[in-house]
Amino acid sequence: MGGTERMNHEKTHENELVCSGHYACQGCGAVIAMRHALAALGPRTIVVLPACCWSVIAGPYPYSALRVPVFHTAFETGGSTASGVRAALEMQGKSDINVLAWAGDGGTFDIGLQSLSGAVERNEDIIYTCYDNEAYMNTGIQQSSATPARAWTTTSPEAHPKDTQKKNIVQILAGHKIPYVATTSIGFPDDLIAKFEKAKSIRGTKFLHVLAPCPSGWKYSSQLSVRLARLATHCKVFPIYEVFDGETYVINVEPEGRPVKEYLSLQGRFSHLTPRQIDEIQARVDYDWEHLLHKAMLEKFEFE
């Protein structure tokens, strides 16, 4: 996975299924995520979009920025609407079509969790993707349960920032014992593409958790999106790994082990943090990383 190969992916895909003229902000991580995901999945894909930034990004009627069929649905129904689409395809004998539910963190961690859990428990043959920008960005940066502790949002102001940890959605999904759960990030396009290709080849529910930084919500300059996504992993804030059948954990990217301060200091949403609070975040990140290593049955990281 060399840098040159990654750069080539960044420039062009053979199957470019996201058109220009979409409605995303400059530097939006969610668009980069969709481009790579659809490049991997190909044109025989139906996208189910519950309310999220992508409801707007996809473009207003009568236009669409996606060259695949899209069904816009209610906020909490990514899992269930996609289940219905899959059922219909099954009844029509169409087995070579990917059903991609594409939801933000609000639609996944919060309001959509019930229908997601229902679909996942039934092991529906869908690819459920959560592109995670760690808040309700579409409505103007309100706190979600994916918002990290201490982060500023418009409903967790600096005087009263979020005082609980980010929900561990991967563990919740892995707890359903589905064939494939994985994290990935726009900072590692090769990994992202490989995981969507893998998801395509597995029957049953695939859950992909994609880190998608948001320039306006995280308060950084738009050219930093990919760099921040990479830093999130190298600082161990967002480890990149897979869980097979809810049991087997495999870590895919070796973090460079940079201090979390480096990641936090580039974002305005953390600018109010005191050195002591940064130390507390560092301690939590280290603890979570150790925990993940144990799950992957590694004493320390051994990258293959």
């Binding site: 044109p43 025989r44 894909t45 139906i46 189910v48 409801s55 707007v56 996809a58 473009g59 207003p60 009627y61 009568p62 236009y63 669409s64 996606l66 060259r67 695949v68 069929p69 899209v70 069904f71 816009h72 649905t73 209610a74 909490e76 129904t77 899992g79 269930s80 609407t81 996609a82 289940s83 219905g84 689409v85 899959r86 059922a87 219909a88 395809l89 099954e90 009844m91 029509q92 079509i97 019930q114 229908s115 859990s117 229902g118 428990e121 039934r122």
Partner: protein
């Protein structure tokens, strides 16, 4: 073939005969036997459908929305709290113009917890864009499901077939179950013009600006109104194939009646018996059973009620602060008529309270009193 079956199983048979492809459901009393039977039919291979056992009614409707958008015939059934939970997705089905059919067993809403008959659940959904049909017997339930699919797919709108908890859902009656060949003649496979199709990709339900939204709503309204033209022809075809005739409204002895009693669902069955008895004794009481609530059959009702002095409306539902919903809709339909009848609304039978022949006679007597019209809403059988 005639079989003695409960109202709920009349639905199951109809859904099987309609060759429904996707069923998504969550259990709720008194609906459960519909989907239990359907799940058996799927398991035994009598019905080739995908049965999705969802985790809520909200998801049941979302599944139906997804399946219908992808081009399959979809079905669910619910009642009361389940329908209330589904409310948001009812808008989605109608807004996306998806011809989903649902059986809805009228049951009271909590609190207090009550599983008995009450129309407030379905009538609270009157502005969601769903067509609504109210049934008086088990045969009508089975037939209405088939007619609902045919109509829904003709006008691209979802439809609910509504009937009373226990009075029909759990009551056994002889039902003529048509043959699959007969049903196939009446109900062709669902082949929508637009659907989720990778060979012809389109976006559905996108962000819609003020430039377009209003026209879309207008189209939904027009499609709903078009039922007035489309449904009589479908009823006629149905009668040609199955030999059973239906009408949007059923007037009985309304010509020259001194008073017309208007009702829906099983109340109409009881009321018919009462009206027949009174008329045999020389009275002139008319009865109007309203089968279609959405679209509201305003023109048909106006035609029947022209020249009638008084209408008593018996509502097993309540819109708090206003009164019975059928009465309210009838008043609205008549308000521009120069020679309109007095409409007296009666609330009865809420939460499954019995509406007996005696209580219907009481309504007729009370409505005929000279001062009856001074009361906007009358309650029947209320304990002091």
């Amino acid at each position: 073939m005639k079989k003695v079956i409960m109202g709920n199983h009349a639905v199951s048979h109809a859904v099987m005969l309609a060759r429904t492809e996707v069923i998504a459901a969550y259990p709720i009393t008194p609906q459960t036997q519909i989907v239990e039977e359907l799940s058996n039919m799927c398991a035994e291979g009598k019905l080739r459908a995908k049965f999705i056992k969802v985790e809520s009614e909200h998801s049941a409707m979302a599944c139906c929305v997804g399946a219908s958008a992808a081009g399959s015939r979809a079905f669910t059934a619910t009642s009361s709290q389940g329908l209330a939970l589904m409310h948001e997705m009812l808008h989605w089905a109608a807004g996306a113009r998806l011809p989903i059919v649902m059986a809805e067993v009228n049951r009271a809403l909590a609190p207090g917890w009550n599983i008995w008959a009450d129309q407030s659940d379905s009538l609270a959904q009157r502005d969601t864009g769903w067509l609504q049909f109210y049934c008086t017997c088990n045969q009508e339930i089975l037939d209405s499901i088939l007619i609902a699919y045919r109509l829904a797919e003709t006008v691209s709108l979802p439809a609910m077939v509504v009937y009373d908890a226990f009075y029909l859902s759990h009551t056994y009656e002889a039902v003529d179950i048509p043959s699959p060949e007969q049903v196939d003649k009446f109900l062709p496979p669902y082949r929508p013009e637009f659907k989720l199709d990778v060979d012809n990709p389109m976006a559905f339900g996108s962000l819609t600006t003020p430039d377009y939204y209003m026209e879309m709503r207008h189209q939904i309204h027009q499609a709903t109104e078009s039922v007035h033209q489309v449904l009589p022809a479908i009823y006629q075809q149905f009668s040609g194939i199955f030999g059973r005739a239906y009408k949007v409204i059923e007037p009985y002895a309304c010509d020259g009646a001194e008073l017309v009693l208007l009702s829906s669902g099983t109340i109409s069955s009881t009321a018919r018996m009462v009206v027949e008895k009174l008329n045999a004794a020389g009275r002139k009481i008319g009865l109007l059973n309203v089968r279609v609530f959405r679209p509201f059959p305003a023109e048909q009702l106006k035609n029947v009620l022209r020249g009638v002095k008084k209408v008593a409306v018996l509502d097993r539902n309540i819109s708090f602060g206003q009164g019975g919903i059928f009465a309210q809709e009838l008043k609205a339909a008549l308000c521009n008529e120069t020679q309109r009848p007095q409409v007296i609304g009666f609330i009865a039978g809420l939460g499954g309270r019995d509406i007996t022949p005696a209580s219907i006679e009481e309504v007729i007597e009370r409505a005929q009193k000279p001062d009856a019209s001074q009361h906007e809403v009358e309650w029947v059988g209320l304990k002091e």
